[in-house]
């Protein structure tokens, strides 16, 4: 499984395989991205603006707090996602009760179908001790009203929980599918060698999942820095009390659509892109992610 086969010679058919995708990639990926980068370095008249837009963004009174918010959020979100997704996928994979694994995967996935407007109402009610199905829990934690639950200090954890609730199920399914690609013989051999569940996971399964985990971390990190949906949801549910201007991405959106200032909006997006790319590059290089092994 891990032996590296000799890589194929330059393929002549490959261009045909990727042609369709390349067309879409250029039309709906590369061109808009380049256009946005062009916006970031020009003013609204189209003249070169250097780093002016970046300076404008950084000078905004909401910019630094937003960076701080997202940093806090990222800690909660990444730690939770990696530990719980990999852990739950491994547990599910070991589950030998027939049908239970399939049912649980379905249940874990369920919230993934709820997006945007659909879940505004869910959170408005779940986080309001007066009407919440987990009201007893909220009251036990000392919260009597919706306003107390969405106090500024609680927001990073709340957003991470919301993001995990909607997003983790999909990743669990992906990880589970990936675990299935590990040959049973390898696991059997490990068992005969006397490896317990923990040993097997640590020495065989997790290393073999490396690419999947790297892919998840890259996307989750970028997704985390681009935090938008969760604060927007809570902001809508609380009529603006919590979550407005919370993240840089929201700020970018405000610049683009509230102030009709696409250029500064693009500058913030480019900054987020660069952060995401730097982290991605580190992971890609250290994990051999691009090797066609």
């Amino acid at each position: 499984m891990t032996t590296v086969a000799p890589r194929q010679r330059r393929s002549r058919a490959a261009p045909a395989f990727v042609a369709g995708y390349v067309i879409l990639l250029v039309a709906f990926g590369v061109v808009p991205t380049v256009y946005a980068i062009y916006f970031a370095f020009t003013d609204s008249g189209g003249a070169f603006a250097g780093l002016g837009n970046f300076a404008d963004a950084a000078a905004d009174f909401r910019f630094l707090p937003a960076i701080g918010h997202v940093a806090l959020y990222l800690v909660c979100w990444l730690a939770g996602l990696v530990v719980f997704v990999v852990g739950l996928a491994l547990l599910l994979h070991r589950l030998q009760v027939r049908g239970a694994g399939r049912t649980l995967r379905f249940l874990y996935y369920l919230p993934g179908a709820l997006a945007g407007a659909a879940s505004v109402m869910v959170w408005l009610f779940v986080l309001d001790p007066a009407v919440s199905p987990v009201g007893f829990l909220l009251r036990a934690l000392g919260y009597q009203t919706f306003g107390q639950v969405i106090a500024p200090g609680n927001l990073p954890v709340l957003f991470a929980a919301i993001a995990f609730w909607t997003g983790a199920g999909g990743w669990i399914v992906v990880m589970y599918g990936a675990l299935n690609t590990i040959s049973p013989e390898v696991l059997e051999a490990a068992r005969i060698d006397g490896a317990g569940a923990w040993q097997t996971a640590r020495r065989i399964q997790i290393p073999l999942l490396r690419k999947w985990i790297v892919y998840m971390v890259i996307l989750a990190f970028a997704g985390g820095t681009q935090l938008f949906v969760e604060p927007q949801l809570l902001s809508q549910a609380s009529v603006g009390v919590a979550g407005r201007d919370y993240s840089p991405n929201q700020l970018s959106y405000d610049f683009a659509f509230q102030n009709d200032n696409v250029n500064t909006a693009a500058a913030i997006s480019v900054e987020l892109l660069v952060v995401g790319l730097v982290v991605a590059a580190v992971f890609v290089v250290r994990s051999g992610f691009f090797d066609a092994d």
């Binding site: 609204s44 404008d56 001790p129 107390q148 009529v239 603006g240 009390v241 659509f257 200032n261």
Partner: protein, 448 residues
């Protein structure tokens, strides 16, 4: 200070550039050109044609467009329902800025549930000036005093007000009589009664201060100068004057006495625990139908209206205002005649505004018909006509509509503190700073 002023100035320059660029783009595309005119208020009409009239409305105003279509079957209409910019979605602004880039696609007439559309629609050259030949001045004079002020930039009217949301004092007439209380006419009496209720009937409420529009009910009525729009891109913010602090202190004292709720009247918490404990509730004209009748399902014959209280030393009573939508006409419209006819009908006709509309019509004659219909419904315990009509003329004009959302600013700055037990008085400086910051980031020149 100096630095932020510089930034503000640069922003303004950027805005001007943006406007210039948009104009250039529009001309270059050979589209309906609005030749960035030298004289204010005039615009070059697009070549007129016969196509269908495109009308954008929210779901509530869909009824208006459909009724017009039914009454005028010969008019070709393309009715599009959108979110009406509810909750500051900025949908209209977003789409107009995209249309401005592409040079086509603008709707002819638009309804918005926001009052501040003129703040960007004029610089974006979308809103057509209405009092320069399209709508006769005699008709415009029929609106309630100052109703079209949010639509007016430098004397030119760019939109028409759909409904007014003047504030009054709602109260439970049955309870007031039963407990032998007098309806307060001054804020001093109001505060005294609030404290009395707190001791005599604990749990009952004389108001709520947990909504995002709390400042528009109380501080606006108290003539607090936190939001004085002095020009197209200029605002004076003074949230710590006596007019502000004495109202804030009144709210604080009643919150401490627990006869003023800090929950939003639209929250589940309020609906479940406090909705049946309302003795009095200062609030906008739509509280009657939307809140008491619709949401709380308060039985018939209990709710009554009195004029908003005023300070004893203030000889000119004033009230606040919470919302009310506007209608805009596109400067790019190729069907100006049909568009103007629809606009006039939808804002002034008795058939719609008087008999169908949900809010208090901003057009005074329609408001009479509307009030008569309300009185005929028999829901209210007293005659609501006189207090509402009087309040319609008393909305304090020095609280304006900027591009920034006062409600969002209050919600984000003051509400969390209120929940955490801070007093409103102690948060007024922070509120003032937040308003100034948001105004500046929208390119406003801020005076404090």
């Amino acid at each position: 200070m100096i630095r932020s002023n510089l930034v503000a100035r640069r922003r303004r320059t950027a805005t001007l550039l943006a406007v210039a660029a948009l104009t250039l783009a529009a001309t270059a595309c050979g589209a309906a050109t609005s030749s960035g005119g030298d004289t204010k208020g005039r615009f070059t009409q697009a070549p007129q044609s016969d196509g269908p009239l495109t009308v954008w409305v929210d779901s509530t105003r869909l009824a208006a467009a459909q009724l017009y279509q039914k009454q005028n079957p010969t008019v070709k209409m393309d009715i599009v329902s959108y979110d009406g910019d509810a909750n500051g979605s900025n949908y209209l602004q977003t789409k107009v800025s995209l249309f401005n880039r592409t040079g086509n696609g603008w709707p002819d007439v638009v309804f918005s549930s926001q009052n501040n559309e003129a703040t960007w629609a004029v610089t974006a050259k979308f809103a057509a000036p209405l009092n320069k030949g399209l709508v006769p001045q005699s008709l415009l004079d029929g609106w309630a005093p100052n109703a079209n002020q949010p639509c007016t930039v430098d004397g030119t009217v760019y939109c028409l007000r759909n409904d007014l949301s003047q504030t009054v004092l709602w109260y439970n007439a049955a309870l007031m009589t039963q407990w032998g209380y007098q309806v307060p006419s001054t804020w001093e009496e109001y505060e005294a009664l609030g404290k009395k209720v707190a001791t005599e009937h604990p749990g009952y409420l004389v108001g709520a201060a947990g909504d995002t529009f709390t400042p528009e009910i109380y501080l606006w009525a108290s003539k607090c100068g936190a939001n004085h729009i002095t020009g197209p891109k200029a605002v004076t913010v003074n949230a710590t004057s006596p007019a502000c602090t004495r109202m804030a202190a009144l709210l604080d004292s009643l919150i401490a006495a627990k006869s003023m709720s800090t929950s939003s009247v639209f929250s589940s918490d309020f609906d479940k625990n406090e909705a049946d404990k309302i003795l009095m509730m200062p609030g906008p004209s739509w509280y009657g139908g939307s809140l008491f009748q619709g949401t709380f399902k308060t039985p018939k014959g209990q709710i009554a209206v009195a004029p908003m209280p005023h300070w004893a030393d203030d000889k000119n009573p004033s009230v606040g205002n919470v919302g009310g939508g506007t209608w805009l006409l596109s400067a790019h419209s190729a069907h100006l005649k049909a568009a103007t006819a629809f606009l006039t009908w939808v804002t002034t006709s008795d058939d719609y505004q008087g008999k169908v509309a949900v809010g208090y019509p901003a057009y005074a004659a329609a408001a009479k018909t509307w009030l008569a219909a309300q009185a005929a419904s028999g829901y209210y315990a007293n005659d609501i006509t006189a207090p509402l009509q009087a309040a319609a003329g008393q909305v304090w004009p020095d609280w304006g509509y900027g591009q920034f959302s006062q409600e969002a600013i209050w919600a984000a700055t003051v509400t969390p503190g209120l929940t955490a037990g801070k007093t409103i008085v102690s948060m007024l400086p922070a509120w003032q700073k937040a308003i100034s910051d948001y105004a500046r980031s929208d390119g406003y020149q801020v005076t404090q």
